[in-house]
């Protein structure tokens, strides 16, 4: 057995929120379980009750409005469903690339975007793209509903700013106000499934001349750089500027996955490739 805990399967968000409020700190939300159940098995987390949110229709929606780019990703939608959605692939290829980079095909049939974000690993692969897209989490609790920008979600290594009893219902990407080119890149140790040594995402709005970049695995939380004005800036100067800003706000560490030196060496390479992805080919990677 993985552990000793109770299991409940609410049928509505209201019911789920009531359960989470009643159970307090001992309750954990069970979506895909690919992080949570591993932690429970390894004794890292010992919840007393798991609240299974996969059979609530409110969390299952995948709503993509292709013309405006507004997207609602239900919190219980598996990553494979997101990665394979044609509208998403066309509108936000960087989002789908990020989803596809996670774990294995089997795990992506369970893992969710919300789960990836809420686990709040500094290497969370969905974080950089959702940061550059200015996404928000819609969370519900017995107190009501609120929107938490992803940029305000990460509080530290494996810590979010969500309050106890808050349940992520979906992830919203705001509507586009023009063409946007997105891409995601992830440096791994092998080509097979791996956690990120460094990851990053970029979104480029050519009509406004604005580039957004976010970087993961180089700080206690994923980091969103301030928007960069690209008008009139040469590509190489832009690459230098992005690398400079990235180095200024990141502090990669030595860990079992990689050395700080390697992360610092590879980050500018990744960022340079990302620039090419979003600025050379419309649609990115």
């Amino acid at each position: 057995m993985l552990g000793r805990f109770e299991y409940v399967r609410p049928r509505s968000v209201d019911e789920a929120c009531r359960l989470l409020a009643d159970q307090g700190a001992g309750a954990e939300v069970l979506a895909g379980g690919t992080d949570l159940l591993v932690d429970v098995r390894n004794g890292v987390r010992s919840p007393s009750v798991l609240v299974d949110v996969k059979r609530m229709s409110e969390l299952q929606s995948l709503d993509v409005k292709p013309t405006h780019g507004e997207v609602a990703l239900g919190a219980a939608v598996p990553l494979n469903v997101i990665a394979e959605n044609r509208d998403l692939r066309r509108t936000y290829p960087g989002l789908c690339a990020a989803a596809l980079s996670i774990a294995t095909y089997q795990l992506r049939n369970r893992a969710t975007v919300a789960g990836n974000l809420c686990h709040a690993s500094p290497a969370a692969d969905m974080a950089p793209i959702l940061l550059v897209l200015g996404a928000s989490l819609i969370v519900r609790s017995t107190k009501g509903s609120r929107a938490v920008p992803v940029a305000k979600l990460f509080a530290g290594v494996k810590r979010t700013s969500l309050a106890p009893g808050e349940l992520v219902v979906d992830v919203r990407i705001p509507p586009l106000d023009g063409e946007l080119s997105t891409a995601f890149r992830k440096q791994q140790r092998i080509r097979g499934h791996d956690l990120a040594v460094v990851n990053a995402a970029a979104a480029y709005a050519p009509y406004r001349g604005v580039l957004r970049v976010a970087i993961g695995s180089c700080a206690p939380t994923p980091i969103l750089l301030d928007p960069i004005d690209t008008t009139g800036v040469s590509r190489s100067a832009l690459a230098d500027e992005v690398a400079r800003r990235a180095a200024a706000v990141t502090a990669p560490i030595d860990d079992v996955r990689a050395s700080s030196a390697y992360r610092r060496a590879v980050l500018p390479v990744l960022l340079c490739a990302l620039l090419a992805d979003v600025m050379d080919e419309r649609g990115g990677r």
Binding site: I190, R191, G192, D194, A261, Y262, V266
Partner: protein, 781 residues
């Protein structure tokens, strides 16, 4: 054998595949016995410590807990070559991950619960992690009582009051003189980290202590008879009182070669009143508690003439044995006698030290030290070639063993040994050696080519033996009984082919045990060392001949002709020239019954055997002798593309030539080559244990110990199997199981020099490692 072969040499598919693709095949993980208990472990968090106190009071009170044992309860010593191990740590722990307390309970959850309630108090003691440090005087002693340990006298030489479990020497010719007079010399150092076998099925064992001091076991093992023998030695039980079953085994690669979990489950069963006890290692325990492949530090010196002939080679191998060295000492011994590579080296001096450290211990691993040693040797060969201004392939050609040359142990190389030069030429051709690579796919990438030689003989006792029984079924089909284990390599299919060939039966009419059982399947030493097809093949040929003798004797009587006039063909026997009178085997399998009812002969049961012969121990001072039943030679040629910004290496193509002597089954042989090459790539590019400064293993799971996935394959893999016959091999065959893995890292390391102009001396050649060396060099493309 000059006759036309019908079955041997064809790619017969394995029939055990059917059980495996349906899920019907049962592994030790799947076996459940009535009343079976489940075991769990408390392992040491410290690399070196005194066990002060073990408090099991809370755990003992749990319902369903049937036995709790600690090292203090078990005065049993384990080990054959070096008796340095206990079942559970006794008085001290020597590596982080070492089993300290074991629990058997009604369910696995109960057992684990009980383990969580066991409190062990330790007092940390000084530890040593680098074997080079461990060799220095004043280093903490991992085994202070080393001098009193029983060991195989005359074969292994532990040094009391040190951390040196064994010192193997090769002294051929006069190295010092040769080196002094050599025109060009080179010294280089190399190292590789410990790695793990990573069988998909972790170690598992079940034991039931039976009345009358008997024991029955089921174990995921490569060697049922070695398990039986070592259990006999450890517990003082007669061999016949110990019964070992080996069901399907989910991979071994050497990690399941010796004695592992079996004593533990046995003592638990005894303590639990004879109920069967099963222990299955978690994946983390597989990495952290079960054995690994030893790390190695090498120093290699070569002296050569300007014309490119090696005059002298000296190597010092310092093996990181980890906390226990029963198997490790043998790796250190075997690697020494191969330790110069497949070359004619007139003056050779090798010191191979197997050194204790406070880390998880090493054991046999595919290649048995040869991948580790040839990482250094084959890299040094390239360096010497460059120093001489010679093409690395040409330098090797000038030095590869040729008929009449002597190996470093004084064995004479003959045409029957195979053709290493032909292997070299084959891979050179396959990767267009001598022609520069095409343009890389990006300006920040570099391409390079590299080659490396490999060789290995089975590292086994001089009297290693093997046996087989063939009995005929009532329908005239044949059943083969052997105790070698087919844990994926496909040898059972090869043995079926051999029996079918010899008995003149269709392949479908030859069956082989899917399980081994020491009560019924006859002796085999261990399924290691790439000798099962060779020795088992001989045993089966021998057993088949015995069956035919019995068949012919009866048929001769029935037909009233001399025995030598009886032909066996098409599953039947007849007088020469008269096939129309043939009696099918099914009418001879249980003797023959005349029409009037009289019966002669009896059940046809043939037995065969093979014993290693003409081998000698190595001289303790010079290492001279004849350790090798046969040698298998080979080479790899590899072309890579390396990204100088990320350090990632892509293998564009890797050609692997092995002189197999005779390819008994091309499909299975290809499977061994591809599988071994990919496993070798793992060692080359990504795999390696990482420890913190306290000796704690940092990557004991797939999260951070990465093995190749289907996405990590070379673009092209080109196996080339040569067939220069081994005169005394079955149909001219040699073993090839370990060889494809050996020297894969060497070839890639050589290709990296070609691509980047950097000498890599440490494994793995990870992206981070490559970038770090590039940064050191200060070069940007």
């Amino acid at each position: 054998m000059t006759r036309e072969l019908r079955v041997v040499g064809t790619s017969v598919p394995r029939d055990d595949a059917i059980g495996k693709v349906t899920g019907a095949a049962r592994y030790t993980h799947d076996l459940v016995l009535p009343g079976m208990l489940h075991a769990a472990l408390v392992t040491s968090p410290h690399a070196a410590a005194r066990i002060v106190r073990v408090d099991t009071t809370e755990a003992t009170r749990l319902p369903g807990v049937r036995a709790i044992l600690a090292g203090a309860d078990l005065d049993v010593r384990l080990g054959l070559y070096m008796q340095d191990k206990r079942i559970l740590a006794r008085d001290v722990v020597r590596y982080q991950g070492e089993p300290v307390v074991a629990v058997a309970a009604d369910t696995l959850d109960l057992a684990r619960d009980a383990c969580r309630r066991i409190h062990v108090e330790y007092e940390s003691t000084p530890a040593v992690f680098d074997p080079r440090d461990a060799m220095k005087s004043g280093a903490p002693l991992v085994h202070p009582d080393l001098g009193s340990y029983a060991h195989l006298d005359g074969v292994f030489f532990p040094r009391s009051r040190t951390n040196i479990a064994h010192h193997q020497k090769i002294r051929k010719g006069d190295f010092e003189a040769a080196l002094t007079s050599a025109e060009v010399t080179l010294e280089a150092r190399f190292d590789n980290p410990p790695v793990q076998h990573v069988p998909l099925e972790t170690h598992a064992a079940i034991a039931q202590a039976l009345p009358g001091d008997r024991v029955e076991m089921w174990t995921s093992s490569q060697s049922p008879y070695t398990v039986r023998h070592l259990m006999s030695v450890a517990f003082g039980l007669p061999h016949g009182a110990i019964r070992v079953h080996v069901p399907y085994v989910g991979g071994g690669f050497g990690g399941k070669a010796g004695l592992n979990l079996e004593p533990l489950v046995y003592v638990l069963s005894k303590a639990a009143g004879g109920r069967p006890v099963r222990f299955i290692a978690t994946r983390e325990q597989e990495f952290n508690t079960l054995p690994s492949r030893q790390g190695l530090y090498s120093t290699i010196e070569i002296g050569a003439t300007r014309a490119g002939k090696i005059a002298a080679l000296r190597a010092t191998y310092v093996w990181d044995a980890g906390a226990y060295a029963d198997y490790g000492v043998n790796v250190g011994r075997a690697a020494a006698y191969s330790g110069g590579g497949p070359y004619a080296i007139p003056n050779c001096w090798i010191d191979s030290f197997v050194v204790y450290t406070n880390k998880v211990f090493g054991t046999a691993y595919r290649g048995f030290g040869h991948l580790e040693v040839l990482w250094g040797v084959e890299r040094a060969m390239d360096q010497m070639a460059r120093k001489l201004g010679l093409d690395p392939a040409e330098f090797r050609r000038r030095n590869l063993l040729k008929p009449g040359d002597a190996t470093i142990t004084g064995e004479t190389f003959t045409p029957g040994h195979g053709k290493p030069a032909e292997c070299l030429d084959a891979v050179a051709k396959a990767i267009d050696w001598g022609t520069p690579s095409q343009q890389p796919t990006a300006p920040t990438k570099r391409r390079g080519k590299g080659i490396a030689m490999l060789h290995k003989a089975p590292a086994m006792p001089t009297s290693t033996s093997c046996s087989a029984i063939i009995k005929l079924d009532e329908d005239g089909a044949a059943d083969i009984l052997v105790s070698g284990v087919d844990y994926g390599q496909g040898t059972y299919t090869v043995l079926r082919q051999i029996a079918a060939e010899e008995l003149r039966l269709p392949i479908d009419a030859v069956h082989i045990n899917s399980d081994c059982d020491t009560a019924f399947t006859p002796y085999d030493w261990q399924t290691v060392a790439s000798r099962f097809s060779y020795m088992g093949g001989h045993a089966v040929i021998h057993a088949a001949a015995d069956c035919l003798r019995q068949i012919r004797a009866v048929a001769a009587q029935v037909f009233g002709v001399a025995v030598d006039k009886i032909v066996c063909e098409n599953a039947s026997a007849y007088p020469a020239g008269e096939p129309e009178r043939a009696i099918p085997y099914k009418n001879l399998a249980l003797g023959y019954t005349y029409p009037n009812g009289n019966a002669i002969g009896g059940p046809v049961i043939g037995h065969g055997r093979f014993i290693a012969h003409d081998l000698t121990h190595l001289d303790p001072d010079t290492g001279q002798g004849r350790p090798a039943q046969f040698w298998t030679y080979g080479a790899h040629g590899v072309e890579i593309e390396v990204d100088t910004e990320t350090g990632e290496i892509e293998i564009l193509r890797i050609a692997t030539a092995i002189d197999a002597g005779k390819v008994l089954n091309a499909g299975l042989a290809r499977g061994q080559v591809i599988g071994g090459v990919v496993q070798g790539i793992g060692s080359a590019l990504w795999e390696g244990y990482r420890f913190d400064k306290n000796g704690r293993l940092l990557n004991p799971s797939f999260v951070d110990y990465k093995i190749p996935t289907a996405k990590d394959l070379p673009r092209e893999m080109l196996p080339i199997l040569l067939e220069n016959p081994q005169p005394d091999g079955p149909y001219g065959a040699r073993g090839i199981a370990e060889h494809p893995m050996i020297s894969v890292p060497s070839a890639i390391g050589n290709a990296l020099y070609d691509a980047l102009g950097i000498e890599f001396t440490s494994l793995p050649l990870s992206p981070e490692h490559v970038v770090a060396r590039l940064a050191e060099k200060g070069s940007k493309p």
